[in-house]
């Protein structure tokens, strides 16, 4: 779960390139393709199937679903018993996807927003496979769309992800504004959940930490997936140009050759500081380069899910 983890972390778990995924229009197919391939490569990992594992029997109580009565046991004992599974105690998995205008950037064929959408879809699909209740929140400077977590909401989540238009959201509107939507989200999450924040986090690390701690502070587990384009990390520009801020539309004349090195240094410091701040707050953080496959994100999620299951 480091930025460098974009390099193969699991043997045989290299999946479709985002550029290939971009040609597949249907977000559900993308999610299924990635997740099924990913799980296939895990070689029956014990991380998978937790939610359908049998846990125990208990006596039938009026009001229990009679479909869950174990008839075999009834035949043997002449008493009604109900089967209980781990799945019954599953958690909410909510993807928080940043759709601000800065996410609508891509130096290649895939923008950060596309990448974020794939990630969100795959994680939702995977969560549902794990019998989690899945939900989705999209936001920029405000919360734009909410699909509440539910076992039946996977189609709604995938549909909502499908409908996200590139650049459809506004910007954050300036420093400090990440806090507002995240505070709003935190106030509306009632139960302990796994929250997956997908954003490019153009905000001072201290402010990011303050904002995401509010999500974390309610007992939820938080995974921050920091999505950046390769051009944002490497700054490969050479010609003098006027750079326009996608968030604020402000222009700035820039000589890239003169400042690329300093830029990379600043971005590196930013990422390092983000990681430090978040890990200090016991929040999982991972950086994603949109030119890399999606497997790392899925692995990150499952590792977190496994840890959570153990706690229960």
């Amino acid at each position: 779960m480091h930025a460098e983890a974009a390099t193969p972390a699991l043997h045989g778990a290299r999946f479709l390139d985002p550029k290939v995924l971009a040609r597949i229009g249907d977000i559900e197919i993308i999610a299924r393709t990635v997740v099924e391939g990913f799980i296939g490569g895990l070689h029956h990992s014990p991380n998978v199937g937790l939610s359908v594992d049998f846990a125990e029997h208990r006596s039938y109580m009026p009001g229990d679903d009679i479909r869950r009565i174990d008839w075999r046991l009834f035949g043997r004992t002449d008493r009604f018993h109900v089967k209980e599974f781990e799945a019954d105690t599953n958690t909410d998995a909510i993807v928080l996807l940043d759709i601000s205008r800065s996410m609508d950037y891509g130096s290649g064929s895939v923008t950060k927003l596309d990448y974020g959408r794939y990630l969100a879809a795959c994680l939702a699909y995977l969560s549902r496979r794990q019998r989690d209740r899945v939900g989705l929140v999209t936001f920029d400077s405000e919360v734009r769309n909410v699909v509440p977590p539910s076992a039946k909401h996977l189609p709604a989540v995938l549909h909502a992800i499908e409908r996200i238009k590139a650049g459809g959201g506004g910007g954050w509107g300036g420093p400090g504004n990440l806090e507002r939507p995240l505070s709003s989200i935190a106030e509306n999450i009632r139960r302990r959940s796994i929250l997956i924040l997908i954003s490019d986090l153009y905000e001072e690390p201290e402010r990011v930490a303050v904002a995401v701690r509010k999500l974390h502070g309610r007992g939820s587990d938080l995974i921050v997936l920091h999505v950046l384009d390769n051009a944002e990390l490497q700054f490969p520009f050479e010609d003098a140009a006027s750079f326009r801020d996608l968030e604020s539309d402000e222009d700035l004349p820039v000589l890239p050759t003169e400042l690329a090195e300093r830029y990379r240094e600043l971005v590196g410091n930013h990422v390092a500081e983000l990681r430090r701040q978040l890990e200090d707050s016991r929040i999982d953080y991972a950086l994603f380069d949109t030119s890399q496959p999606l497997d790392h994100a899925l692995f990150e999620y499952l590792a977190r899910r496994q840890r959570l299951a153990r706690v229960r």
């Binding site: 006027s242 750079f243 801020d245 968030e247 700035l252 930013h270």
Partner: protein, 691 residues
Amino acid sequence: MSFLAPLFLASLAALAVPVIIHLVQRERREVVAFPSLMFLRRIPYRSERRRRVRHWLLLAMRCMAVALIAAAFARPLLQRSGAAGLSEGGSAREVVILLDRSYSMGYGDRWARAKATAGKALAGLRAGDRASLVLFDDDATAVTEPTEDVALLRAAIDSVSPGSGITRFAPALRLAGRILSESRFPSREVILISDFQRAGWRVTAAGDTKLPPGVTLTPVEIGDSTDANVAVTAVELHRSFGRGREQIIVAARLANAGSFTVSREVALELDGRKIGSRQVAIPAGGAASISFEPFPLGEATIRGSVRAEADALLADDARHFVVSRGENVSVLLLSGRGGSSRGVHITSALGIGSQPVFRLDRRRGSGTVTAADLAAKGVVIMDDVASSKAAERALEEFVQKGGGLIIATGEGAGSWTNGSALLPGSVGGVVDRPLGDGGIVSELDHSHQVFKQFATPRSGDFATARFLRYRKIEPAADSRVIARFDDGAPALVERSHGDGRILLWSSTLDPYWNDLALQPVYLPFVHEMVKYVSGYAERAAAFPVGSVIQLDQLGGGSELPQSDGGLAIVSPTGARERVARDGAIRIREPGFYEIRPASRPLATPLVAAGNVDPAESDLTVMDAREIVAAVTSDTQLLTSATATQDLTAADREKSQGLWRYLLLAALFLLAIESVLSNHLSRPRGVGVARS
């Protein structure tokens, strides 16, 4: 200053062009979208904010040049005041000065300023020019013929003062049009000097008020920004009878046209003596009503005034009235045989009312009357009584001399002699209408005085009365049917005989054959019938200035002793006038007019009160250009509306020639700008990321 082509001013939006060029020219590089400049901004020495103006002077010069060019294309026009404009011009002119002398011109110093403006207009006349002076309020009068004699015109202006009339522009403009249409001068002008009250101009008046082609109309506004004015707009007199005496309660309404609530003392004066006062607060743009303590009426006519504290406009601060004892109408009621209730309803109806007071003499059971019975009577009501030849003769003589007769038919009315000159028609048999339903009076002649007050909606419904019986009437040729039943049968028929009037009602006036007496319309109906046949006319308490009245409207003149030589009239300001006894008396000013026989100067006069029209108290000003647009033709509108006085093409061009100078100034500025910008744009050492 105004503009001939103001639409070109929209091109001032082009001012944005130099600014944009100024900013845009400095950065022509490719624009690269980038998610965030968060990190790039932290490297300040390699970047430069683009939106910064470097050469303010250059920018100002470019903007100024664009503004000058836009202004030049809009064709600025130097505007001169109407009076000053007259001092210029080329050829001889015919000028008509219309001077508003309505009473609102007496507000503050308006009249002095109006006269000064007219004087300036005269000063602008040159040798060969002609002018005439027209004074107007609701009427227009040419004080002078068109003349070149400026001294004569000046004297005429000095001699006049504001009148008591209200502003009406249309008659004045029509008169000016007539004067100018007879003129052969090539340049013809009208100078309209007024406070331009909105009330003085009706759009409908514009239709037939057009100045001849080629005439220029120049409005000169004398009004000022203030419109504070309190006026007594109405006085009402309510009669009452207390302790056997007739009393009058005076109520007045005051209006405040100003923008602030004002408090005024309002006094009631009777025969020149102040007998009471009230303090009243009048809200801004609103009105207030007050009433004074009642005062008793004596034999003599009383002259009264309600007077508010004086303000800038004196003419509307008082309203005058004349009040005298209510008149009596003497009525003889003859009721037919029947129960004790016979005639009760008529008696009750005529027992009510003070204007006039009905003095009723009632007899029951017989229709027999003699000339002695009819002496000093104004009206006789024959309520279902049989008639006799002797009675008919006495009544005929009575009506001939001006008496009034109302005949209500019924069971006993069959004995009237058909074909008599007295009856408006022959009285036939009884018509029975089906029980439970009955007939109704469905057709009324609302133009007739008896039914006039029922003409407006919800003013009385005769259809609620049910008629079970009535007599068939065949109207005489010289009679007039003024009401009919729903089957077309005449209900009320009128006929004049000699100086008197007769009304024939085909049913009863008691609830024997109908239930009319139980309906709300009964009382006013009976009153109106009696007033009509008696020839009663209510005496007006006051007349508006400008109205023309006759002696009849002052109570018929019966109070004045008969004499030869007509009438001598003394106006409130002491002006004397003689008119024939049946001639018209014109109310020209507010106050009390005294009217006496010309040959009896010491006789007690008949008094008429005059009041100014309160409409003139509203000092709301209109846009004078509205009049200009309405009365001048389209081709004149452009020059007239902008109030230019210049007559010749050369003159006109002179006042519009400012555009040349503006263009020259713009060119000059652009030349300097070129030199300066060349100087400033010479290559220097420029930073790596600078534009």
